[in-house]
């Protein structure tokens, strides 16, 4: 009965086609829902593609190295006894041929919906996806998620969140059309707030989520090394845009131009946080904690008390988030990417350290999963490692704010006794003026500063 068609997922708003880098499973392998089937190259990143159904990988229709349009059938998962000929036939006879044609592939196949009822049990894919939650064997996040849900549930604010299902498989209220669009575009319904009656997720909510960018955040001042001036050779060369650079180039003006940014900078005394970090990192068996982890924790906790900053401009309304999904900008050779640390407000410092490191490492290896690339409610960009004093970042719409973090510097400070040496760090928040005002941003920053200057609060 269960035949699961594996199609090229839409992993970002701009994505029209994807290239299969490598199949991690081969024909005949037993597959469980949630298993990583293949690695896919998109315009933004290399992403691991999960199975949405279980069975045996009966057929690989598009071999590694080929590029196909979003929605194209690339493989079939089914029980051994299942007849998959009809499904395979829809790929247009010869799959690689259809694949090579790219845009022609979906039109050559029958309309996806036409055969869906016959081929796939009518369970929405996205529900299936989330019901099982990502279960990466090494991912420390997965076992934590039920606990996260408990923590959230205990907070009165969270109970107001519309349509926020419990992590134990609560039903997501969504219209059938919203479910279909979400399934086709890889949007996770559990991460969307519904604007329909009773918090029901309707089409416009999914479309809004689709158009929220998967990554990209900070206005990174040029990261490329300065070219050696030379007297001979050509005067210039035109380097073609990499897919990522091209995506950033398209995305950023969409933020900077329409979003009225304002900036608030504050200086934080990091002496105690620095000392605490050294003490924590000296402990046996504890994960190494970075300054950035302190900042993530401080920013996330403070957002709970400043929901107006954890908010997004929605045209007719402001969406205030009750959970903090922290986007963490990670610089790469060829650009940057902003993986999302979900429920950062509910994670301990140690958990943040582990998760953030895992995300950053996998970002560099281009091994992020779809759901780790979207859904941030707030972002942090840290250029401290480049010995930057301070800078301002571009907001990553539809988020309402981003914090830019400078280096922790040793500077002369005035103490009661005279002049001393202190560790200082600049935080600059960029805020969407449509969502909040200067004083809101300033008060938020003041509380972040307070937490970092009394860092024991971050441990309790």
């Amino acid at each position: 009965m269960a035949v699961t068609k594996v199609v090229m997922p839409k992993l970002s708003e701009q994505m029209e086609s994807g290239k299969i880098i490598k199949w991690l499973k081969k024909e005949g392998d037993r597959i469980q829902s949630g298993d990583i089937l293949a690695e896919v190259e998109t315009d933004k990143a290399d992403v691991e593609m999960e199975a949405f159904g279980g069975g045996v990988l009966r057929k690989i229709l598009v071999p590694a190295g080929n590029k196909v349009t979003v929605g194209s059938l690339i493989g079939v998962i089914a029980d051994e006894s299942e007849d998959i000929n009809s499904v395979v036939a829809q790929a247009g006879g010869g799959a690689p041929a259809a694949a090579a044609q790219g845009a022609a592939a979906p039109s050559a196949a029958k309309p996806a919906m036409a055969d869906r009822p016959a081929a796939v049990p009518p369970q929405p894919k996205s529900e299936d996806l989330t019901a099982r939650k990502p279960v990466p064997s090494k991912g420390p996040e997965a076992p934590a998620s039920p606990r996260v849900a408990e923590v959230v549930a205990q907070q009165p604010a969270a109970s107001m969140a519309p349509a926020q299902p419990s992590a134990d498989g609560g039903r997501v209220k969504a219209s059938p059309l919203a479910r279909k669009i979400a399934a086709q575009s890889g949007v996770d319904l559990k991460l969307i707030h519904g604007s329909g009656p009773g918090g029901r997720i309707v089409r416009r909510d999914v479309e809004a989520a689709q158009s929220s960018p998967p990554a990209a955040a900070a206005a990174a001042p040029a990261l490329r090394p300065v070219a050696q001036p030379s007297v001979s050779g050509p005067e210039f060369e035109d380097v073609p845009l990499t897919p990522m650079r091209s995506a950033i180039a398209k995305r950023m003006p969409l933020s900077k131009a329409p979003v009225p940014h304002f900036y608030v900078t504050s200086e934080v005394a990091m002496d105690r946080a620095w000392a605490l970090r050294e003490e924590l990192n000296a402990l046996e068996g504890q994960p190494k904690i970075s300054v950035n982890d302190f900042i993530i924790r401080a920013c996330a906790l403070t957002l709970l008390h400043h929901p107006g900053v954890n908010a997004s401009f929605q045209g007719e309304s402001i969406r205030v988030f009750h959970r903090v999904h922290m986007g963490i900008a990670v610089a790469l050779e060829e650009g940057l990417i902003t993986p999302v640390l979900r429920d950062a407000h509910a994670k301990s410092l140690a958990q943040i350290a582990v998760d953030a490191r895992d995300l950053a490492e996998r970002a560099r290896q281009r091994k992020l999963r779809t759901q780790e690339l979207s859904g941030a409610t707030f972002s942090i960009s840290n250029l401290g490692m480049f010995d930057v004093r301070d800078f301002s970042a571009i907001i990553n719409p539809p988020e309402g704010a981003i914090v830019a973090v400078g280096a922790v510097r040793k500077v002369p400070v005035v103490t009661e006794d005279g002049l001393g040496v202190g560790r200082r760090m600049a935080l600059t928040i960029s805020c969407d003026h449509r969502v909040m005002d200067g004083a809101m941003g300033a008060r938020y920053l003041q509380d972040v500063k307070k937490l970092l200057e009394e860092p024991l609060r971050l441990l309790v």
Binding site: G71, S107, P111, M113, A114, S175, L177, K180, Q184
Partner: protein, 452 residues
């Protein structure tokens, strides 16, 4: 509330339900054009037309009727009785909801003051919170052609006249023109239907126009499309109509070229209420450019439909009462024409759906293959469902056939709930019903229709 047409009286009642004190102003009878001169009385006439038709085809059911007489005057009288009853119903609802009715013509003298000129002089009403305008619309004519309601009549005359003409030329083949063509033809009038656009019921899907043209022509209605009328003057059998497609004459001409907003004398200009192409410009909560003044119904723009006015009336009342009403979804207003066979549609036509290169899947199912329709002897028409190929979203539905106007709501509800073809498909439709054709047309979208 200035005007008590379908928008106005619904708005007044909703406002009263929400605890507001409501005064209404009406220069005719409560219920407006819809109840008195439009929707309701014409449905009564069309029912007569249908009964005549049934008698005429009784033979095919093995029933012989002798000496059948269809008295047109009696049909109009019955229609008036129906309208009276409905208007009284509105008066009853006003009493029930403690809504005061001020007979007379209302006009704004300031943003919250309405002068009512009645038989006994002027009454001044001052609104504490807001004024809602719902003054409706009136029939338009062609340039240089005066409607005298004798030779050249509008729907207002047509619905009142107890004498039927021997022959009539109807200019305009929208809902009004087509419905009167049906009534007159059923009572033996020679009917010529002229339309400037290339097809009748031009806002409907092209296939509907084509098949309806065939149906009406078969019944002896002369249809000329793509003709521009250049002159209408007395002569010949009564009136002569010159067009670029020939000369027509008839005892009467019915002008059914559309309706225009009634906005004169309401006091809009002096208050600086912004207009847009002849209609009052309104916000999603039906507020005009002047705060505290709301406008609903025909005067607030297309589509000029009673049910759209009612929906707007509710939104305006709720907004004034401080609720946060869901704005009217103008993309999901059903359109219904009550000729035989009936026309009903919602959403996009095939041509509109394909604009912009969207890939659509279309399912069509004829009533000839529907058991109930065959049993009823009403096999004309079809159901056509237009869906998005990728998501199965129901983009538009077009029904031509008996009871089409009742059947369309399955899709209206579906679209409101954002159902896709899958949900319609998995909904068991009772057998035998005409609505099974809706199910089959939906299955046809997926290439899975059973009964064809």
């Amino acid at each position: 509330m200035v005007g008590t047409g379908p928008g106005g009286y619904v708005s007044a009642i909703r406002a009263a339900q929400l605890g507001l004190t409501v005064a209404t102003v009406e220069d005719d009878r409560p219920g407006g054009v819809c109840l008195n001169w439009g929707c309701i009385p014409t449905k009564a006439l069309l029912r007569n037309a249908e009964i005549v038709h049934l008698f005429e085809k009784a033979e095919t059911f093995g029933i012989t009727v002798q000496g059948m007489q269809a008295d047109y005057a009696a049909a109009v009288q019955r229609s008036r009785g129906v309208a009276d009853r409905m208007a009284k119903g509105v008066e009853f609802l006003f009493r029930k909801n403690k809504i005061t009715l001020f007979p007379g013509t209302g006009s704004l003298t300031s943003k919250n003051v309405v002068d009512v000129k009645g038989k006994d002089g002027v009454t001044t009403l001052e609104a504490g919170r807001a004024v809602i305008l719902g003054t409706g619309s009136e029939p338009k004519s062609l340039p240089g052609v005066a409607i005298d309601e004798k030779l050249v009549i509008s729907s207002n005359g047509a619905v009142r006249n107890e004498a039927k003409p021997k022959s009539i030329v109807i200019i305009g083949a929208g809902a009004v023109g087509v419905e009167f063509a049906d009534v007159y033809r059923s009572y033996g009038v020679e009917v010529t239907l002229l339309e400037a656009l290339p097809r009748i019921v031009p806002i409907e899907d092209e296939e509907v126009s084509t098949q309806l043209t065939r149906s009406l022509s078969r019944r002896g209605i002369t249809i000329k499309t793509g003709v521009k009328v250049s002159a209408v003057k007395p002569g010949g059998a009564g009136v002569v109509i010159e067009t670029d497609g020939g000369r027509f004459e008839a005892e009467q001409v019915l002008m059914a070229v559309g309706r225009g907003a009634r906005t004169k004398g309401v006091g809009l200009e002096a208050l600086g209420v912004t207009m847009e192409r002849g209609f009052v410009k309104v916000s999603p909560t039906m507020e005009t450019s002047v705060k505290g003044i709301y406008a609903i119904g025909d005067m607030a723009g297309a589509p000029l439909l009673a049910h759209k006015a009612m929906a707007e009336g509710v939104v305006a009342a709720e907004a004034i009462a401080g609720k946060n009403p869901r704005p009217v979804d103008y993309g999901n207003v059903p359109s219904c024409t009550y000729c035989r066979p009936q026309v009903a549609s919602i959403g996009l036509t095939e041509a509109q759906a394909k604009e912009g290169g969207r890939e659509v899947a279309i399912g069509k199912f004829p009533f000839t293959a529907n058991g109930k329709a065959v049993a009823l002897g009403e096999t004309e028409g079809f159901v056509k469902v237009i869906a998005d190929k990728k998501t199965g979203e129901i983009l538009g539905v077009h029904i031509l056939g008996a009871e089409a106007t009742e059947m369309i709501h399955e899709f209206a509800v579906g679209r409101t709930l954002e159902a896709t073809v899958d949900e319609i498909m998995h909904t068991i439709h009772a057998h035998p019903t005409l609505s099974e054709a809706a199910l089959e047309a939906t299955l046809a979208v997926l290439g899975q229709a059973i009964h064809i």
